[in-house]
């Protein structure tokens, strides 16, 4: 099970700095959102920005240390397994995070919307929403004054398709890069890695464009939009929670 050498890192300042950054991020984000909804100015964005700066500093510093250690041969196979398993379980946690959203989609689609429209076991509910009919996608909400329904559906064959293609091709490029790494082709590795990053940046760009459009323009209810409109490719893509370096997780 265990080899005779296990590298236990010496004291490190990265974790505590990272914690400070998370504190700043959380506090700053909350402040920003509250101020945004109340339409007033606040320090929030500055705190949030500071949190991101510190976070980037940590990411660079911490990764640099790890790479240095790795290159100086401190790591064993056992360490390697620990890192890989850590990553694996982290991905599992992401899957569960998105499972919550897909569960919500399932519930809304199979239970709450039909009930509101007078179908199924809690159909009496329709008494409260006279005239509302359950349809999917939900173009007219039970209370169109409070929640204006989407004016149009996002066409899955445009931006979403493009993003899906970007995402899938990034998995291909990163795989090629990985192979190159294994056989020691530095040039090839660099090229395909750069390609992957470029794809990730493009993906993120279009994701942002799409969100801004959806949020500002046809006033599509995000909950519904999220669920109806996109053929989902690999689960985590659809909300942009993944960071640029992560498309390869989808493999």
């Amino acid at each position: 099970m265990s080899t005779s050498s296990y590298y236990v890192p010496e004291q490190s300042r990265w974790p505590i700095i990272a914690s400070v950054s998370m504190g700043l991020l959380a506090y700053g984000a909350a402040m920003t959102f509250n101020a945004m909804s109340a339409d007033r100015a606040s320090f929030g964005p500055y705190i949030l920005g500071a949190g991101f700066l510190v976070l980037f500093y940590v990411i660079f510093g911490w990764f640099r240390d790890v790479i240095t250690e790795s290159q100086s041969g401190l790591y064993s196979d056992q360490m390697d397994r620990s890192f890989r398993q850590g990553m694996l379980w982290f991905i599992f946690s992401e899957v569960m995070f998105f499972a919550a959203f897909f569960g919500a989609l399932f519930y809304v689609r199979t239970f709450s919307v039909p009930w509101l429209g007078g179908e199924g076991e809690k159909g009496v509910t329709n008494m409260l929403w006279e005239g509302f009919q359950a349809t999917w996608p939900l173009m007219v909400t039970p209370d169109p004054v409070q929640f204006e329904g989407p004016r149009e559906l996002v066409d899955p064959w445009h931006l979403p398709l493009l993003n899906t293609v970007l995402l899938i091709s990034s998995s291909v490029t990163i795989t090629i890069a990985h192979h190159a790494l294994k056989v020691g082709h530095r040039k090839k590795l660099e090229f395909w890695l750069a390609a992957t990053i470029a794809l990730a940046v493009a993906f993120l760009y279009f994701q942002v464009v799409e969100y801004i459009e959806a949020y500002t323009e046809p006033r599509i209810d995000v909950a519904v939009r999220e669920f109806t409109v996109r053929p989902s490719t690999c689960s985590p893509d659809s909300t942009g929670f993944m960071s640029p370096s992560e498309p390869s997780f989808c493999l």
């Binding site: 509101l116 809690k122 509910t125």
Partner: protein, 289 residues
């Protein structure tokens, strides 16, 4: 120290004049509530018996197999027969519990063929009752005075369990409740009916009751609904059919009078005159709620 103890004892003794030492569920006044009570007692006694068995063996070991008494530890461990037995027996007991429980549940869910339909709506922090066939519609608020709550006056026996307008239902009839809410989630509960249903804003939940014994039954909101969650009681008056009919008639008459007053059209001068009348006599003209 002794003084403090005595003060404590006194305060306990004095408050027990008001309180009953009820330690168990109410049997209630409906068939369902009695079924539930029986289920409750059944599972309770099952737990007691299992508890006595398990703790019995445990305390036997604690007293007999202690080192200070010179007990030597045995070496046995793992015994498939024992392990199968203590897995299967609880399983069987549970099945025995689940079957009658499912039956009761099905009865509770059977809201068909009701005689009276009442829509109950939870508001922060009051209940609204609408009789769907009678066009009766009113709110029901806590009527305990502030002074009693803030300990500036003695508390009456129905402290916090009293309202201005109780819900009135006929005895012996199946009454269906359509429960919903206007703002946050509330929950409408009358222990003696064993009816507890969450009032979910935007959705309707159904429940029903048939009470044979006329009387006044009290309950409370049981879902945290904000600041005054503790102050939105439920009071239900169950009246014999004749009295219930009389009550309905009276409500109708009141409503008609109101409607008439509201439908009159007054000139501005007349209204001013009425307003002065209010000021001078101290009687408000009827207002719509």
């Amino acid at each position: 120290m002794t003084k403090a103890m005595m003060a404590l004892g006194l305060s306990l003794a004095s408050s027990s004049a008001l309180a009953d030492w009820q330690v168990n569920l109410n049997q209630g006044v409906t068939e369902i509530s009695r079924d539930i009570f029986d289920l409750h007692m059944l599972i309770f006694w099952i737990c007691v018996v299992i508890g006595v068995g398990v703790f019995g063996v445990m305390f036997y070991s604690i007293f007999m197999h202690r080192k200070s008494k010179g007990a030597q530890a045995a070496h046995f461990h793992e015994n498939t027969t024992v392990e199968v037995v203590w897995t299967v027996i609880p399983f069987v007991i549970l099945i025995g519990m689940a079957i009658p429980a499912t039956g009761t549940l099905m009865d509770m869910y059977d809201t068909s063929e009701a005689d009276v339909d009442i829509q109950i709506t939870g508001y922060q922090w009051k209940w609204r009752y609408q009789y769907l066939d009678e066009e009766i519609d009113f709110f029901s608020n806590l009527s305990t005075p502030r002074e009693e709550i803030y300990n500036e006056a003695g508390k009456n026996p129905n402290y916090l369990l009293e309202v201005d307008n109780p819900l009135v239902i006929p005895a012996g009839k199946k009454v269906r409740f359509l429960i919903t809410a206007n703002d946050v989630i509330h929950s409408w509960w009358v222990p003696h009916f064993a009816v507890k249903k969450d009032a979910i804003p935007g959705f309707i939940n159904e429940s029903w009751v048939r009470v044979d014994e006329p009387g006044v039954y009290r309950g409370q909101c049981t879902e945290l609904c904000g600041k005054d969650h503790g102050f939105m009681p439920v009071v239900v008056e169950v009246k014999p059919q004749a009295e219930y009919d009389a009550w309905v008639a009276a409500q109708r008459a009141k409503k008609a009078a109101l409607a008439e007053a509201a439908s009159q059209s007054y000139s501005v001068d007349e209204l001013i005159a009425m307003g002065e009348g209010v000021l001078s006599t101290g009687h408000a003209p009827p207002v719509m709620r």
